[in-house]
């Protein structure tokens, strides 16, 4: 099976503070993986480092469909097929979603982009948001829906959905989970980052990984989430002999 994403020994730090301490992860095309972990474990940092945000110093290897993307700029990674759905989608005052869609079309759109826009707009009920400024005045659920809409337009090879369920009520979580499942494709690998196992009740991830202290400490099937649900992250920490790290800096998005 071909891998959409291969992460090898990924380290990242802000200043002297090391946040990712050697992450290894593989996601084959066609699969949806979940990454769980407590606050401050480095989950959001992982998604930003994958995307190439310049706040971090990083090392290691990230292969996107077999091609090394470490060292590339944010936009180059996006155009190679990496998509990050933001935990906190950024408001861009005065710029309508329509304007952004047009720019996305110019940057990554291919032949049938226009019809994809039309189809996704209808499917996700985005019509009424297109003329409004990006993410401005949208509810939590609407923002996440807008992220999933953009994912559908971009058609990436790898989608990293950072805390796609945060701040959502149960109906919105179910809706987003449904959108993730329906985005499954043999040309896409998905990494769903989440703090709670709640969203996993509405989707069927192929694998679940647990990150604590900047490393993936456990990987497995559905049972990993069930175990966490029962015993919590602290029990897992104790079992693995990890010292709890509670640095407030790690809680930064």
């Amino acid at each position: 099976m071909r891998n959409a994403l291969v992460i090898k020994d990924l380290h990242a730090s802000i200043g002297d503070l090391e946040i990712l301490k050697g992450v290894d992860l593989e996601i084959p095309f066609g699969e949806v993986h979940a990454l769980m972990g407590p606050n401050g474990s480095g989950k959001s940092t992982l998604s930003h480092v994958l995307m190439g945000k310049d706040d971090y110093t990083s090392s290691g290897s990230v292969l996107l469909d077999g091609e090394e993307i470490m060292g590339l700029g944010v936009d180059e990674r996006a155009r190679k097929g990496l998509f990050e759905a933001f935990q906190y989608p950024v408001e861009v005052p005065g710029v309508s979603l329509d304007d952004l869609v047009e720019e996305i079309g110019g940057a990554v759109g291919n032949g049938d982009f226009a019809s994809r826009v039309a189809a996704s707009t209808a499917q996700l009920g985005m019509g009424r948001f297109l003329k409004r400024p990006i993410n401005e005045g949208l509810s939590g659920g609407e923002k996440k829906r807008s992220e999933m809409f953009q994912l559908a337009l971009v058609q990436p090879k790898v989608a990293v959905l950072d805390e796609i369920d945060s701040g959502l009520d149960v109906d919105a979580v179910r809706e987003v989970a449904g959108l993730v499942e329906s985005s499954r494709s043999e040309n896409l690998g998905v990494l769903v980052i989440t703090h709670y196992s709640r969203i996993l009740n509405y989707m069927k991830p192929d694998r679940i990984h647990v990150m604590i202290g900047g490393r993936i400490v456990r990987s497995g099937g559905r049972e990993v989430a069930d175990e966490l649900e029962d015993t919590g992250y602290e029990a897992l920490r104790a079992e693995l002999g990890l010292v709890p790290v509670r640095d407030p800096l790690l809680d930064l998005p």
């Binding site: 995307m51 945000k53 700029g73 944010v74 936009d75 996006a78 155009r79 998509f83 990050e84 933001f86 989608p89 950024v90 408001e91 861009v92 005052p93 005065g94 710029v95 304007d99 952004l100 720019e103 996305i104 110019g106 940057a107 990554v108 400024p133 953009q150 971009v154």
Partner: protein, 410 residues
């Protein structure tokens, strides 16, 4: 050409003895004024790099045959180098004419050397009069241009009758390489219950300096909307004074300005609440790049009598280059005790989080920044009152940024 300080003034066609005499008195007074030094409060943020004495009175190069297109206008006027070369109305309730008579201006000629010079050399003006109780549906276009070197003193006076309604679009322009000095005066009085909208397209050429005044007096329950787009000029200064003179009157002021290279854009805006139950809102957004500088000095003045005033001013600035500077100086002067009043003022740079978000969607950095800048101005331009004028303005703001990117200045 006549030096500005020559002891005699030429009579303009149609001018009365009385008017000429008034101007001669004003000319005598002009000698009492010196160029601002920068120590005066009203001039402290702008460095004047010229002397009025070095200018001569501009003479219109030639008559203009070609009139700019004025689609669906109720009236129009052309002013070249201060001379009113055309003025026409197609609406029986509207007068757009050339006037040379003496009149009581709302603009105090004794403020500084520029207002004094306008009183002496501003011999003619465009007079716009809307009869009582009439709504003029289409805009009135006034095109003010400078065509020859030297100083010119164009003036526009708008009077809107009780219960009437009108929209005036004012365009200012000159060739890019014309080192002219223009002292435009625009004034308007709004009768009770009237509505006036004035949109100013400041498109002076890159070598032209402009020191302008815009003054309005707003009557009872009347409503004023003004908008200015500031794109041109080597130096372009507006001193705007709005007096909410009648109870229940209101004013909305919008602005968008964008300076590059070594442009100086200077806004000195005063909103004077002089009657109870008056409302005002100022909303200006400006950006500067290269070595450009901008200043917004805003003042909300609320008289003791002006209880139940509701006033707010917003000024947001974007600095796009290290060498550029923007100042935002809000002031409040409140003498009444039952008012709602506030201001918001910011000077900042492009937001890295917005840039990251947009680039994560595949936009390269120039595209992401262009979108962010477009959005920045859009918040002001979307508030401009005349849609037909806004669309081309939008394009000019975008093009200005695009050009800077293409020329590698950003």
């Amino acid at each position: 050409m006549t030096p500005l300080t020559s002891s005699t003034l030429l009579r303009v066609p149609g001018e009365s003895d009385e008017s000429l005499e008034t101007r001669q008195h004003a000319l005598a007074k002009l000698a009492d004024f010196a160029m601002p030094t920068g120590r005066e409060e009203v001039w402290r943020y702008v460095d004047l790099d010229f002397d009025l004495e070095d200018f001569e009175v501009a003479v219109a190069a030639e008559s203009i045959d070609e009139r700019p297109p004025v689609p669906d206008s109720a009236g129009f006027a052309l002013v070249v180098d201060g001379s009113v070369v055309a003025a026409e109305s197609s609406d029986p309730n509207l007068t757009v004419g050339r006037a040379t008579d003496r009149f009581e201006s709302l603009i105090d000629p004794g403020q500084d050397i520029f207002t004094a010079a306008q009183a002496a050399h501003g011999a003619e003006r465009v007079d716009v009069v809307v009869a009582d109780g009439k709504a003029i549906e289409s805009p009135i276009f006034i095109d003010v241009s400078a065509s020859s070197e030297g100083a010119s003193f164009p003036a526009v006076r708008i009077r809107v009758g009780k219960g009437s309604e009108a929209t005036v679009a004012l365009r200012l322009r000159s060739a890019d390489d014309l080192p002219a000095l223009v002292v435009p005066h625009v004034e308007g009085s709004l009768g009770d219950n009237s509505n006036l909208t004035v949109v100013v397209d400041q498109g002076w050429g890159r070598a032209t300096r402009s020191i302008g005044q815009i003054v309005f007096s707003v009557g009872r329950d009347a409503s004023l909307k003004t908008a200015e787009a500031g794109l041109g000029g080597a130096l372009a200064r507006w001193q705007l004074d709005i007096k909410l003179a009648g109870q229940g009157s209101n004013a909305k002021v919008v602005g968008a300005y964008f300076g590059d290279e070594e442009q100086i854009l200077d806004y000195r805006y005063v909103m004077h609440h002089a009657a109870p139950n008056t409302h005002s809102e100022m909303f200006l957004k400006g950006a500067v790049e290269d070595e450009a500088g901008s200043v917004f000095t805003g003042m909300i003045r609320i008289d003791e009598i002006a209880q139940k005033t509701d006033a707010f001013q917003t000024n947001r600035n974007l600095i796009l280059s290290d060498g550029a500077s923007a100042q935002s100086v809000p002031n409040l002067e409140i003498l009444a005790n039952d008012v709602k009043c506030g201001h918001g003022s910011t000077v900042g740079q492009l937001d890295p989080e917005q840039r990251y978000y947009l680039m994560s969607r595949g936009l390269d950095r120039p595209s992401a920044d262009r979108l962010q800048v477009r959005g920045f101005f859009e918040e002001a331009l979307s508030r401009f009152p005349v849609p037909a004028i806004v669309e081309p303005l939008r394009g000019r703001f975008n093009e200005k940024f695009l050009r800077a990117q293409e020329e590698g200045r950003l």
